[in-house]
Symmetry: C2
Subunit: 482 residues, 2 copies
């Protein structure tokens, strides 16, 4: 459980432990901590309140005396009664049963921990899949916000497919990449992740199988599994997914869809060659197997532009294509899009209307301003230079600290990631915990492939150059010591 954000007032006349008693009593009596809730440990409460442990012990004593909490034999303390001094005659619903009853899978514990830890200041994040704050175009955004003030978007509910102006801009962007997409065949979504979510509940039957690269980003989000689908990994090599395996795998596992990140793959950084792309399209067309192309890293090339999207070579509508502005411009904007056959897009738009009535009008308008003002292109130019330097620094640090046989890696041509392969194996959980203890947050390989226990996803996009150097140095020590 997250620790409370409140702290007692040191200037108050009321003793600290009584302030804490009152605060906790309110939390219980107000129903935030229902009967059955397990309290955070005394140590962590003391830490979050900024007091001595003995003060917490005194406060908990008051609550225990009043019959509200009880120390369990197992060590933990639980809420047993929500009223002060009176035995509750009617217990509340058993929320814990509800929490575990839903049909949606929880995130992997490691992913939950990463999601939370990312907001603990001071942590050194070596694997985070987003741009460092210093790489985000704050000043340009500020300029565009001022411009938007003169063109406030429509404040009402929006069209099912999203802001038309934004869709037109995206259509012409995609056109320049070889993709023919009309605005009515584009759906604006709240990030690429939402596109996956909509597809998982909108197009596939429960029990069907999604083929995907192994490893893949998709292993780290249980979006398809929660909708009752299975994932089946298909091996890759240095040119990407192996197309000759797709038909046999589809046959053997009954694949209903192939999810692929052909360009600057997450987590390996691999770019699928043009030949492979042609072959993959052929194979899928022949097998009648739809492709979902996730292209969120395309614009992040560092050496040369990547081959055209699969969708550009698709003349029969076998490819659904999705991308977003999260990796290049701003994840907080939550703007992505998907294009494909019109009936598919209309189906997904209908479900989107049922899920959240469309994406933020402000985000959509701001995204449109970024694209139409030329800001996006200018930003990408300068971003590529900076990311290139970061990549070099990360490779140098890796060479310095992991070069002597501790690990192996390839050099990515774009995107954010280096898929580090450790030459020794350590239990992934152990490595994660040991690093976290030293203030380093890593993204262990098993998040992206259950069997990649000896891999770590390194990102050169997030940590500062200094942090990359010191973090990788410390990480190498930890690896060597385990």
């Amino acid at each position: 459980m997250e620790k409370p954000l409140w702290r007692p007032d040191r200037n108050s006349q009321i003793p600290l432990h009584l302030q804490i008693t009152e605060y906790l009593r309110d939390k219980i009596a107000g129903g935030e901590w229902t009967v059955g809730t397990r309290l955070p440990s005394q140590r962590s409460l003391a830490e979050s309140f900024g007091v001595n442990r003995s003060t917490v012990v005194a406060a908990l004593g008051e609550l225990a005396a009043a019959g509200m909490i009880e120390g369990g034999r197992g060590g933990g303390t639980k809420v047993v009664n929500h009223t002060w001094g009176v035995l509750a005659s009617t217990p509340p619903p058993d929320w814990n049963a509800y929490v575990s009853a839903g049909i949606h899978y929880p995130n992997l514990p490691a992913v939950q921990e990463i999601n939370r830890s990312e907001f603990h200041p001071g942590l050194l994040r070596l694997g985070t899949g987003e741009l460092s704050p210093e790489l985000l175009p704050r000043e340009e955004m500020s300029r565009l916000l001022r411009r938007m003030a003169d063109h406030v978007p429509d404040l009402g509910y929006g069209e099912p497919n999203g802001d038309l102006f934004l869709r037109e801009l995206l259509a012409s962007r995609m056109n320049s990449q070889g993709i023919k997409a009309s605005p009515e065949c584009i759906l604006i979504v709240s990030g690429a992740l939402q596109a996956l979510q909509l597809i998982s509940v909108g197009l596939l039957q429960r029990g069907s199988t999604v083929l995907l690269e192994r490893p893949s980003y998709l292993y780290s989000v249980p979006v398809f599994q929660s909708a009752g689908m299975k994932l089946q990994g298909v091996p890759m090599d240095e040119d990407g997914l192996r197309p000759e395996l797709v038909a046999p795998y589809a046959k053997q596992y009954g694949g209903a869809l192939l999810y692929t990140i052909p360009t600057f793959h997450n987590p390996t950084g691999i770019v699928m060659s043009q030949q492979r792309r042609n072959r993959l399209l052929e194979v899928c067309q022949k097998a009648g197997l739809p492709i979902l192309e996730d292209d969120v890293y395309r614009d992040l090339w560092l050496d040369e532009p990547p081959p055209a999207p699969l969708k550009a070579g698709d003349s029969s509508g076998v490819v659904l294509y999705m991308s977003s502005l999260s990796k290049t411009l701003s994840p907080g904007l939550r703007i992505g899009w998907i294009t494909g056959p019109q009936p598919v897009i209309e189906r997904l738009a209908d479900i989107k209307m049922q899920s959240d009535y469309g994406s933020s009008a402000f985000s959509q308008r701001l995204a449109a301003e970024c694209l139409s003002s030329g800001m996006y292109e200018a930003h990408m130019e300068s971003l590529r230079t900076k990311l290139g330097l970061r990549r070099q620094a990360a490779l140098d640090s890796l060479q310095r600290h992991f070069g002597e046989g501790l690990a192996e890696w390839s050099i990515p041509n774009g995107g954010f990631y280096i898929w580090l392969k450790l030459n020794r194996t350590a239990a992934p959980r152990k490595l994660f915990d040991a690093a976290l203890k030293q203030g380093i947050l890593i993204n262990p390989g098993h998040l992206y492939d259950p069997e990649a226990g000896n891999r770590i996803r390194i990102s050169y996009a997030y940590a500062s150059l200094d942090e990359l150097e010191s973090g990788l140095a410390r990480l190498a020590e930890i690896v060597a010591s385990l």
Copy 2:
């Protein structure tokens, strides 16, 4: 299928019908209209292209000659081949099968039609559940956007629970309504609808039953049904839901959750009395039946503030409370929130992270600016006056046109709606179509209660005063004529 947005260029040297041929060919060859797709009718194509029907016929003739489309015996025209002049050797995946295979229910056809029709300019919308553009605070938003330009929010991925500053503001707002909610027990969502979506997949088992008022807004969105739950209506009277029926219904139908809109209920406008609230809480506490309180209309009182939320009287954590800024400030902002027991909120936050990685940082910051600057309160003051006038105008028009025994209604004390009861019955679909033909979009009662065929939801929030008068006049004629 939505009609194309493109129009041929009348100044071009290329004949119109050839431009159209080329446009449609690209749509088919590019995979937007896959093999099997049914084309819009000739008439509707002619309309959307702004040409004579004969021009469309000529263009379709070219495509048919090239073997790309074929007129069916049933009248419709279908795509049969995606390449020009060559028989396709490999058909694409059968997307239509995918579109109908997903586990998510489509919106009711009438709701889909309403969603789409709302963006056809010129339609007179008598039932729309949102503020008219003229009631939305565009200028104030423009001012706040300018302010935001000096405080650009964090552009990165956000915290699982949402922007902390916004959560603190909401906590203190709710506090003033009698609800004790700490920021760590609040989850920011993309509108109240998303809260429903998260709850449907996060807390309830497939096959369980949600109790709700009959009629209810919830009947118009298949969010719970798509997650495999059933809805069971509980009768209301003029004081709201009848609490004495809750326990027996819960027992008989195995209710797992009670969804209620106690304040300015959608679609009836009813406010649950204080006594009922106390009784309902008691009953649910006793039965261990969690309540989901949807309070999106609370601030829209016109005569006097409504009783405190159910959540304010909840000392054992039986109530999950949700609200949003859509009905008062801006639906396009897509900002809502939910509060309740901490483990429940953390579970929902986890699923939210899996669905879209959090709501737009810009919308969240703008919402916070609205609340913290005092703009929200000032806007509500003036909004109440304007809505009060609109309510009066709508009641006057109703009296004029439906007063002579054509319909009955009650006077709402706030919110948007009048739940009109027709004294004659007409097939709802017939009424909807007849009204649409005359350019009037209505929200028929059966959207909110499958058996309320003789009801219409009238909203005094959307249409202009003139439109309300002329629309209701015409509607009365249509009703009388059926």
